[in-house]
Amino acid sequence: MDKPQNNRAWFLVLPVLAIVAFSAVIPLMTVVNYSVQDTFGNNQFFWNGTGWFRELLDPTTDLGGRVRDSLWRNLLFSAIILTIQVPLGIAVALAMPREGWKVAATLVVMAMPLLVPWNVVGTIWQVFARGDIGLLGYTVNRLGIDYNYVADPLAAWVTIIVMDVWHWTSLVALLCYAGLKSIPDAYYQAARIDGASRWAVFRFIQLPKMRRVLIIAVLLRFMDSFMIYTEPFVVTGGGPGNSTTFLSIELVKLALGQFDLGKAAAMSIVYNLIILAVCWVFYTVMTNLDVERRRPPADA
């Protein structure tokens, strides 16, 4: 495109490079190092080659089984929250006011959950959903439904999913809203003159305009739900049993709970490769979309 080539720009990037290398490259090297060795304590390490990886990727072993289960749980979780949050986010965005004081009020209320610290999101839902002291838990139990997220895996899943919907749907909605606002009024007038139905307006005007932001929203939500740790950890601690143990929770158990360096390191590498792959898709899509738009961003 039209940016001038200038390799001296590297000097401007160097500080960032240095600190990110310190925070990312050194630790990753440690991880790679651990992943091919075994230890019996005392800082004595033995070469283990690809042993950990073979165990990790073989679902018949204890480690492999746990990793596979937590991976499936995590994928299921991501799929469920995307299925709920994307349509709900679009519906909310379509219903949001376009002008007047209501806009600011709606935006402020919608932004609230996004700005709550993640462990406090957990706390909020803990005190909200408990059967004895929580408004939600108490009400549901009063309606005659047996609901206890500490003991019942299904209830735990429902709680975590509702919590995530509460926490993140606003992000999808706000992104869609940004897309909707960029549609000129003339489009709607034209649609009205053509006698287009509400559905046709949505399908042929609004949806195409939201495509870009929707892709961003889906990718962001997938990435974040794929590395979710704090919220379920606070609410369920991965339980009951292992029913809400997602990838990150499993990894932290291995690494900091049992200090199983080799296994944890091998799992970190596999986990990171998955993330890198999705991240690459994300990056490609983002840059392609950027090329598509190339106009100064409209300030809200």
């Binding site: 600190i19 402020v108 970190s268």
Partner: protein, 291 residues
């Protein structure tokens, strides 16, 4: 659609087009959807606030929709007990350190990415993103070893540096988004007027993107403030953040729910204070400046 039906609908709608054009993109039952959704968002927060104003006796004795008698004891405990308020001080210390480091380093880098092409720029930009997306769980153990080895373990600086892992890339991406919205002619004019790069950057460019810097600082602050896993792993006593303090409210008398709720309410304050100013930039910040 036939010509005939087109023309009839055109005449019909021409009459109502003007006053109703605005509502053309309204969703049926839209206000209801929105109302229910907003109610769903507010209710849990309301419950947290109410609980923080109740006594533990009231919390455990049954369901009350609002406190029978409002008590501020829970807040008083937090502000007078060092093990509680030091958590806030520790958190604020490393969060502010992290925000300052992230913005300072990211500003020149974002400028480079938004204005120039250079060897490996795309790979580098991608690599930064991949660090923003990397699960902190991967880094918990190596960070623990690294910071123990260099003697920073259990200091705010360790957490501040660890959070640079995702906050520096975040800041670069968001700032790049803002900077790319500033026309390059401004730079060129300034250079023609004899400004050196540092002077131009500080005197002219920074004021132009002041909004962007504010938004970026806010997001760095927020993401460092909400992170629990790394902050908890890298601290034990002296630098223990409030998020970690909150995970241990079990006392001999059972859970101290009122206290926990009060601590939670206090962590909402930074967000609540600035929510008004950032409301139009929330989507942009979370989407890394790409909206």
């Amino acid at each position: 659609m036939t010509t005939e039906s087109l023309s009839t609908s055109a005449t019909r709608s021409a009459a109502e087009a003007t006053p109703k054009a605005r509502s053309a993109f309204r969703f049926n039952g839209g206000s209801l959807t929105l109302g229910l959704y907003l109610f769903f968002l507010v209710l849990p927060i309301y419950w947290l606030v109410v609980m923080s104003l109740k006594t533990n006796a009231e919390i455990n004795s049954g369901m009350t929709l609002w406190p029978r008698e409002i008590t501020f004891d829970n807040y008083r405990t937090i502000f007078t007990d060092p093990s509680w308020y030091s958590g806030y001080i520790n958190s604020l210390t490393y969060v502010v350190m992290n925000t300052v480091i992230s913005i300072t380093l990211a500003l020149p880098a974002a400028y480079a990415f938004s204005r120039y092409r250079f060897l490996g720029d795309k790979h580098l930009f991608f690599w930064l993103l991949s660090n923003r997306m990397a699960p902190p769980a991967i880094f918990a153990l190596p960070f623990f070893n690294l910071y123990s080895a260099i003697g920073l373990f259990d200091t705010p600086l360790a957490v501040a540096l660890a959070h640079c892992l995702f906050n520096v890339p975040l800041a670069v991406w968001i700032l790049e988004g803002f900077m790319s919205g500033v026309p390059r002619e401004i730079d060129e004019t300034a250079y023609l007027d004899g400004y050196s790069f540092p002077r131009f950057f500080v005197r002219i460019f920074t004021p132009i993107i002041a909004n962007g810097i504010g938004v970026t600082a806010f997001f760095c602050f927020m993401f460092s403030w909400v992170e629990l896993l790394l902050a908890r792993t890298l601290t034990t006593v002296n630098a223990k953040p409030i998020a970690a303090t909150m995970t241990r409210t079990v006392s001999a008398a059972g859970m101290d729910w009122g206290l926990l709720a009060a601590a939670g309410v206090l962590t909402l304050i930074p967000g609540a204070l600035v929510i008004w100013f950032v409301r139009n930039y929330i989507a942009k910040g979370f989407a890394l400046g790409r909206v």
